[in-house]
Symmetry: D2
Subunit: 294 residues, 4 copies
């Protein structure tokens, strides 16, 4: 298939590479030259703009840092929506706020173009191994059309509902994830302060009502589990600054919707503090450092 | 075995009954007459005081509402520790703060008496079905001695470490449980406000990093799961006022230990608000009501 | 002087009227007809658009609900900046986020037009009595130019610094105001719960280190002060929904600036809850209702 | 007058010295020898116990670190209440929880002894200069009896109501103080992050609705005011660890009373974090350090 891939950051490069490996004719664009040249050397065709990349393709993916770039690439005068027609389907894999996602999809629809929001979870490791999860907001028809290609970049491809629901699913999950992670940090550090063995406590929690992914799969306390960021000084994983970004999207979406999210707002402030204290580039489980003695 | 059971509230009665059914000679005491008479009719022997009940027994259990009653029953002039000798082992199943638990155990030890803290989880349903979880703080020797009898009242009997660690395990788990539960309420209500189907969102969360017991086993949103309190207007289950009590124990223990528990403190205040708004006797998942439009 | 006034809501109408009374030739515009007709009957000249109103004036004021309207009026194709030249000075009295304020001022400057942000405090009563406070972000030259006219609508005209600082001053003050107000509610309700007379406690606070405007000038507890919203069931004053709006601006600006505002975020959530519970149209001191028994 | 003073810490020594200077015959006791010897050298008579010091006096003051010491000195077998009779009046200047204060007063009353709670504010500087504020919980008769002597150690002597209301007034004021102080830190640091001059912003706040003691008298931002702890690297003043203690008393009293104090609970956690980060011995305005870049 003729496919365009626009936005070649840490996530975009391995995702695009998986499409190349699957045999697609890939046209690429990014304002940064290095990843473009790397992928061109592997067989992709570099284009001079997002619109030029997408011209003549059946499918175009974008993977951009945040809403302003998404607006620029899709909605500007020379952007994708103005330049393309109904023959292409667009898939935005960026993590942005659901309202912007819906707005962009509506603008595309007004020109007869189908656009899906399909943010991912799984991190760079998942992007490389093609084990990402895609949360897709799209019509049923569009979902069926793009699912086989998404499946070449990920393991789980979930249809969440109409436009914007992919973004909604991601930020709601990550809101809960941040809260749970901090909850595990508090429960574990309180236990240690009160004298219970950390391994014993985590075993109890993992078979009790406190059980959660942040405890049983991704425990933030060093010494509890191997092969998690806590076991390697919080290197790798899902960066604190990215969690902070997602919490910003969630609380801002909540504000616009008039929906209270008290623990979410406090979690955002704690991640803000963690970032201020220099933990921004470490895995988000490094927020455990806010809870231990210095 | 000759066993005393002191404290016959909603939990104590079915626990004591399970000991009777297991064939033990049971001596009982409570200041309230009705449950004493009910169990006496089933074969237990009523005594005039806690000490009188425990006299001559190999094992005595207490199940009391909170620290002041525990202090009174164990530490007062005519209390258990003053009245008994090293031949008995004492097991306090009350949920109290770990510092008081350690203090009482130390007072017992000073008279040569072994005392375990063994708070439970599982609620009245678990007490009746003998499926409780016991979290036990005790020496290894005492744990081995009491484990077979605890197993007649529960399904899981966990050794958490020395004195006070049973209480610590319980309040740390419940701290995390409260935080997770509120986190699920926020994620689910935000999702609904943004237009994603609640069942779809919970399915995504339950297979993603937001997965937790409060979402996949005890979801607080009506219509997601059958057989949970949310499916029956939050009747039954673990009452909001009891969760509020446990959060009070956790944050107070944290304060004394100089340990920060920001989300825990906020969760306590939210449960305080829930109680103030009339939800105190409903299951603790009813805190979802704070998040939906009225 | 020839002056335009654009945006005739609850604040705009009395402000414009004060300019009329001061003898200015006033040209007005709003999309809603009723206030336009009312002011036209008092001598103002109605125009068909914001740009038409401002044409030929020395000064134009805008008083709009929020950022999107400000963007539309100033930045759209037929908007003020495109339609006007350097002979006019523009003053935006809307309360919006400081970043948008700076962006609009920069767009004006690019066309040689001086633009000040001048949000107000004092409410509709202050607008009517011409006792508003204006917090002005502008160059020194522009400030001197507009100050005499602002003084015809208000009592205090404060120069806060360059573009955006008027907005910054307002949202920072209101952030602190919201926090203090909730702090007074908590201190007073805790005092009452512990049995101290509310009047005695407020007298002590007002001569001690807890002293603040929310306690000594605008006490939220009924029965403490006359002539405050608490004395008239929280009618009038500064509405909860407007405080919620300002807290949203403050926390969103903080987020973009990477600045932590923990109590501010919690205050925002409490005002969100107050709004959800039906207090949105009452004065912002009505948040006291979250703290008393029902 | 024959007066006993028990508890000679940093506050007790200068308070006792002011009584000596006023010409009273002073009998003193503390478990630490150094301050006892210092005051004995100035004319006080050292006694071997609290009860021995109070024997034969008309008035006895206590100034102790926290509730357990107050319980020990007043309620133990050889304590003040057991050893003394109705001829003495007792005044506890310690800061403790209101419930313990009431309990001790009730125990004294049961033996016919009048006891007042009279916690102070003003710090060691106020103790030395005899400018303390006393918040007194006592009957009207007892208040009149002790007021003249309190006035020799302080400038303001306030009758707050019956037993415990002195403590209540103090912890409610300090709850509000902590919240306001953090509010000022957030408003000022947000303003700086958004580019307004700190001095300009504090001037605006101090004449607006954000005005409070923490801003206009004790500003936490270095460079705004002279002669405040912020001007001397937060040395002196009211220590963070003492504010943390008072917040613990306030939130624990709130918990027992079933009263919500959301911002107070969050403020306590922020002070806990400040202490954990090494700010415990600095003035409580040093919490500003949590809000600035490192």
């Amino acid at each position: 298939m003729n496919i365009a891939f626009i936005g070649l950051g840490q996530m975009g490069v391995p995702m695009a590479r998986n499409l190349l490996r699957a045999g697609h004719a890939l046209r690429i664009f990014d304002v940064v030259r290095a990843p473009v040249e790397a992928l061109a050397a592997e067989g992709a065709v570099a284009a001079g703009s997002a619109s030029a990349a997408a011209q003549g393709c059946e499918l175009a993916f974008t993977m951009l840092p945040s809403s302003p770039q998404v607006r620029e690439v899709y909605l500007s005068a020379g952007g994708l929506i103005a330049a393309l027609g109904p023959e292409i389907a667009l898939v935005d894999c960026s993590t942005i706020d659901p309202l912007t996602a819906r707005e962009v999809a509506a603008a595309a629809l007004a020109r007869g173009i189908a656009l899906a929001d399909a943010p991912v979870s799984g991190g760079t490791a998942g992007a490389q191994a093609a084990t990402l999860t895609f949360m897709v907001g799209a019509t049923a028809a569009l979902f069926e059309r793009i699912k086989p290609v998404l499946a070449q970049m990920g393991r789980n491809v979930i249809h969440c509902g109409e436009s914007g629901t992919g973004q909604t699913a991601k930020i709601c999950n990550n809101l809960l994830l941040a809260i749970s992670m901090i909850g595990v940090c508090e429960a574990m550090s309180l236990g240690s302060a009160l004298g219970i063995d950390a391994k014993v406590l985590s075993d109890i929690i993992n078979t009790s009502s406190g059980r959660c992914w942040s405890s049983d799969t991704y425990n933030p306390v060093p010494g509890i589990m191997p092969n998690v960021p806590a076991a390697r000084e919080y290197q790798g994983g899902f960066a604190t600054r990215l969690m902070l970004k997602d919490l910003g999207l969630a609380t801002e979406a909540a504000r616009r919707a008039g929906q209270g999210v008290m623990l979410g707002a406090v979690a955002q402030q704690l991640y803000q503090l963690a970032q201020q204290q220099g933990l921004g580039d470490l895995d988000f489980s490094a927020i455990f450092n806010l809870y231990r003695p210095r």
